[in-house]
């Protein structure tokens, strides 16, 4: 191979020469110096973000394949493919080509099903990943921007899913599109205009599949790709958070290097996720459009259900009373418009929390040690209340299914959702806070009195006690590493000269919230060294 340069002392191996070439143009050595052995902490909950990433990649790969065969056209054609029950039926080209992908393209059905399953898992994984970030406080400074990027990915993911499953133009998805069009019509003043512009005229017209197509395969994934890359760059740049533990401080990051361990684990995990989704797609059919038939605005399948992530708006619209106000020749369709407004509000409630929390604490420091949810009772309670609200609305979205399954009347479920919409989050908040405080107390006891050993000892005077074993120092440290805020005080409202000081309403609110978050009774003071020493020295004598 290398005859001409044999006289040189040493010839760099081929890989090194390629790297040299690239370094001279891209500066890869400097890049690798900082990153190749970058440390990543390991914890199962950090894999949730990876599932999001991998399902997104799977979606892109399978989606590109589908575009090779799908015809985004609403022209009506007569079907003559190999699915016998649909022979001769009039349908849009979009529907016909989806049948072709399912029945005539070898492997097409598999790719379709992987694509759909991956989309469901993608949105689910994003929500769970978001919950892990929320409950551990990983959104605190410096990660607020990444929190917002992530939230945008979630919202865009939901809309990408919606536009995607509308493309085959089948009876079920068409019903969903009609639902969306009806909701758009309810927008005051501009609703009819929006609907006409979106559909190129009256519903359904002949345009929406082609329009949804470019939104689904280009616009939204393009934006998401940008956000996702930014999201990951920030994860790299900030370095990953870690849970408290021996040797872990706010100024370091403890784990294993990117090359080789993290790369092998994360890379391997991609294949695991892809493999599992493939097997699911092999054994569980999803969106069998051939059983539904092509869309006709005057036909409907019973038990029409959207993909699960759209169940929340579905619940809102089902539970809302049909209010309509007619005034001065105009109609305010509150029964549909209010759910349309509540949808982003309910979803967005979780997104603004980090900013409320940082305003209340006034904490401007960086945080890299994750919270245990119990140690931040108010935040945890809010998160659980939000999840509870979401579940109430999902139940509302499937009210007919629940009614059938549990032999309840739809009326009863609707009223449950109406009342539960207000009551359940409140109850969930209170109960969660209590549980957190209970767990904090338990940690406190564990630190002060040690771990229960399960060994019962009989004292000389006949009393039975359980032997407690003091915790090792690492454990003591872990359980006491968390910070505890004190509620902020407004201070005297009259200054030393007796002149009244004006306190802004926002400041009063802030002080009040701070009290609700951190005052006595809203968190259990963690044990102090003095308390510990006192109890430990008294031990055994008792």
């Amino acid at each position: 191979m290398s005859t001409a340069t044999d006289n040189k002392a040493r010839k760099a191996p081929a890989g090194e020469r390629v790297a040299d070439w690239a370094d001279g143009r891209l500066g890869i050595y400097s890049l690798a110096k900082a990153n190749m052995r970058k440390i990543f902490p390991d914890h199962w909950s950090f894999m949730l973000g990876e599932i999001c990433l991998y399902s997104f990649i799977i979606i892109i790969l399978t989606g590109v394949y589908l575009t090779l065969f799908f015809h985004p056209s609403m022209n009506e054609v007569e079907y003559h493919g190999s699915y016998v029950p649909m022979q001769g039926v009039l349908m849009s080209e979009a529907f016909a080509s989806t049948l072709d992908i399912s029945f005539d393209v070898r492997g097409g059905l598999l790719i379709r099903q992987i694509h759909h399953w991956a989309a469901l898992i993608f949105v689910a994984a994003m929500i769970v990943h978001m919950m892990r970030v929320f409950f551990t406080g990983a959104f605190r400074k410096p990660r607020e921007v990444n929190w917002i990027f992530g939230f945008l990915l979630l919202v865009l993911g939901m809309f990408t899913g919606f536009t995607g499953y509308s493309l085959p133009d089948d009876l079920l998805s068409g019903t969903g599109v009609r639902f969306m069009q009806g909701a758009i019509l309810s927008v005051p003043v501009v609703g009819t205009y929006l609907s006409m512009f979106l559909f190129g005229g009256e519903f359904p017209g002949g345009d929406f599949v082609a329009r949804f197509y470019s939104v689904h395969i280009l616009l939204l994934p393009g934006i998401m790709m940008g956000l996702l890359v930014a999201h990951l760059i920030l994860v790299f740049y900030h370095k990953h958070t870690q849970y408290a533990g021996p040797g872990k401080t706010n100024n370091n990051v403890v784990g294993m290097p990117l090359l080789p361990v993290y790369m092998a684990k994360a890379g391997g995990f991609f294949f695991l996720v892809f493999g599992v989704i493939s097997v699911v797609a092999a054994v569980a059919s999803i969106n069998p459009i051939w059983a539904l038939g092509p869309y006709r605005p005057d036909h409907v399948s019973t038990g029409a259900q959207p993909d699960w992530y759209m169940g929340m708006p579905e619940g809102l619209i089902r539970a809302m009373p049909g209010w309509e106000i007619n005034l001065w020749g105009h109609t305010l369709v509150l029964g549909v418009f209010i759910p349309l407004i509540l949808f982003p509000l309910v979803l967005g409630a979780i997104a603004v929390w980090p900013f409320i929390e940082s305003w209340v604490t006034g904490d401007k420091r960086e945080h890299h040690i994750l919270d245990r949810p119990r140690n931040v009772p108010t935040r945890t309670a809010f998160g659980v209340a939000w999840i509870a609200e979401y579940i109430v609305l999902l139940i509302g979205g499937g009210n007919d299914m629940f009614a059938q399954y549990f032999h309840l009347s739809i009326n009863a479920i609707t009223w449950f959702v109406r009342i539960g919409f207000f009551a359940v989050p409140v109850v969930a908040f209170i109960v969660t806070k209590r549980i957190c405080l209970g767990l904090q107390r338990r940690d406190r006891d564990k630190v002060l009195h040690g771990r229960e050993t399960g060994i019962i000892k009989r004292l000389p005077h006949g009393e039975f006690v359980e032997v407690h074993e003091p915790l090792p120092q690492g454990k003591l440290h872990t359980l006491t590493a968390h910070e505890q805020y004190k509620p902020i005080e407004i201070g005297p409202t009259v200054d030393e000269n007796g002149v009244e000081r004006k306190v802004k309403a926002t400041e009063k609110l802030r002080a009040k919230l701070s009290k609700g978050f951190y005052a006595e009774g809203n968190q259990i003071p963690k044990p102090t060294v003095e308390e510990y020493k006192e109890i430990q020295s008294g031990h055994g004598h008792h």
Partner: protein, 352 residues
């Protein structure tokens, strides 16, 4: 964010981690960070035979993946695309889909499992610590950047020449208007499109099942009949859009059971015709309860009483279904006596 009134920092806890950075255990503090625990070797680290076993497991997984890929290609060639097989407990499934999905899944999974097993058992699992550095720049860097910016802005003269600044902002602000204007042809203006359907005086009611014009005697008590206007053909290009508004449902009710006066007037011999499109968000109504004359929308369960002007008796719909006035023509066929008098389907701002 102003918080002048409240002295900052006072309520903040002491810096986390700082006090015992580096894990130097303070003798006096039982809660102090003892530092990273010493690394415990795994069996593979001390026993070469165990390491060999791990190596073989990983290699076996990778080999399995190769076999599965061969299986994928073989399935693709062997199974006809339309072959259906029975597989317990899935039932009847496409043989090709099942075989391709399983082999692909195994091929992928084994690569993943192999890599993860390799990482967990054979790669170093010593935990190391890296330092973090504050994200915010040092005051010197910040001062330098601000100075650079000021210099740049100064050299451009943007502050000194408001004429340039203002016209530039104006030009940039106006430019997107073109992008907005060019969207105009996305669709027509609504005008009164949503107020009209194909129905008109004299149009026959075509039975959607038989595609024949309906006679009064075809409409039986207790049955729900779907109809569309004469002249609407499935093959015409705007069929979907027309049927989305014109779809009709017809029932026969004993005239004495009809509670609404106008409904009775617009009916023929107890036959009433209503829009099939739900007034909530537009699903087609499909269920009919003959005893009560209630119809139910399957989408969100809005229920309308067809014997009482189709008013809403349950569910999220906001107003009654529009009724079509019908009669019988000279040849004894049911006919429309005009269009709907109010818009069909979901409500909108201009509906009034």
């Amino acid at each position: 964010m102003s918080s002048q009134e409240i002295p900052e920092e006072k309520h903040l806890p002491s810096e986390q981690g700082d006090a015992h950075h580096g894990g130097v255990a303070v003798a006096d503090d039982p809660f102090a960070d003892p530092g990273l625990p010493v690394h415990k070797p795994r069996i593979q680290d001390i026993d070469e035979r165990a390491a060999k076993r791990s190596e073989r497991t990983v290699a076996m997984l990778f080999t399995l993946s190769m076999l599965a890929t061969i299986g994928f290609i073989a399935s693709y060639v062997i199974f006809p695309v339309d072959k259906i097989v029975y597989i317990f407990p899935l039932g009847k499934v496409s043989a090709l889909n099942f075989a391709l999905g399983m082999t692909l899944g195994i091929a992928l999974f084994c690569i993943g499992a192999g890599a993860v097993h390799w990482a967990r058992t054979l790669m170093s699992d010593v935990e190391v610590a890296d330092d973090r550095h504050e994200i915010a720049a040092s005051p010197e860097v910040k001062a330098k950047v601000l100075q650079d910016f000021a210099d740049g802005a100064n050299e451009s003269g943007i502050g000194r020449r408001p004429l340039i600044r203002n016209t530039m902002l104006g030009a940039l602000a106006m430019l997107p208007l073109s992008a907005v204007v060019i969207m105009r042809d996305l669709g027509p203006l609504p005008e009164d499109k949503l107020r009209h359907t194909m129905w008109a005086k004299g149009k026959l009611l075509i039975n959607q099942n038989t595609m024949e014009p309906l006679r009064p005697e075809d409409v039986l008590v207790g049955s729900l009949t779907f109809a569309m206007p004469e002249g609407l053909d499935e093959h015409q290009h705007d069929f979907q859009t027309q049927i989305a508004k014109a779809a009709l449902m017809i029932v026969r009710i004993q005239p004495e059971d009809i509670k609404d006066k106008q409904e009775l007037e617009w009916s023929h011999d107890g036959i009433v015709a209503y829009s099939k499109i739900c007034t909530h968000v537009g699903c087609p109504i499909s269920l009919y309860e003959q005893q009560t004359h209630h119809v139910l929308c399957p989408c969100h369960q809005s229920t309308f009483d067809l014997s009482d002007g189709a008013r809403v008796i349950f569910g999220p719909a906001g107003h009654a279904l529009p009724q079509l006035r019908i009669g019988v023509n000279g040849d004894g066929f049911l006919e429309a006596l005009g269009d709907f008098e109010e818009p069909v389907g979901p409500a909108f701002w201009e509906r009034g």
